[in-house]
Subunit: 153 residues, 2 copies
Amino acid sequence: MEKEITFRKATKKDLDCIVAMLADDMLGSKRERYEHPLPNSYIKAFEDITSDPNNELIVACDDNEVVGVQQITFTPYITHQGGWRATIEGVRTSSSVRGKGVGTKLIKWAIQRAKERGCHLVQLTTDKERSDALRFYERLGFKATHEGLKMKL
Amino acid sequence: MEKEITFRKATKKDLDCIVAMLADDMLGSKRERYEHPLPNSYIKAFEDITSDPNNELIVACDDNEVVGVQQITFTPYITHQGGWRATIEGVRTSSSVRGKGVGTKLIKWAIQRAKERGCHLVQLTTDKERSDALRFYERLGFKATHEGLKMKL
């Protein structure tokens, strides 16, 4: 029988595990610093996210083990007749559960949460280097209608 | 002599002019409702944006006339060692000033504001139907490294 994956807001105790997942990634390995103790910038970011009612850092759990993470940001816009949007970012799953549908469950959970929050749109960007990710999101019903542009400061 | 464009946070008095600009657009014309009185959803969104310290609705002014608008959202993330990002959205200029560089000034203003807020990245998505927009942002230094995916709810 397939074990049930549960979802909840991250706590500070999950942060080590979250950063480990972010660093265990083709792009994240170049830009994260998974060290002990964790760099203080991660702790500060965690506090900024969890104290903001329009940001939710969500973990997926397999029993008590954290096996996935995503951040959902809820934003009010004037466009689309003044509609709220949900933006999904930083989606990662543990290599221990890869291929077991945890990513799909995370995104479906985020879509449901966006509906609960009254959003008319859910959006995300994915690095063009992640060719599998684009197909993954398209299978879930996303349309790649936009270019995602970034500028490092 | 070129007149100076000034920038400030939008006030409720600017909302009519902002919605007029959003509606006077190849994509906006299909999805906005520029009516008098303005649909209440715009007023509610304006209040939600301006009461959130992580959202800024910015207008560009030529003398006292509002000739451009953009929304900047500041978001803390765990990724990139816990870095803040600025997201630019809903950039529009008045048809009365098109081709006069107001759009460029808006984006440069947003980049400067993102630096002031300590962001390590500024990002946006642009609809692939707006072929000129992609070149515009690339000229300003943005890189189209990501696919921008959307799902209507």
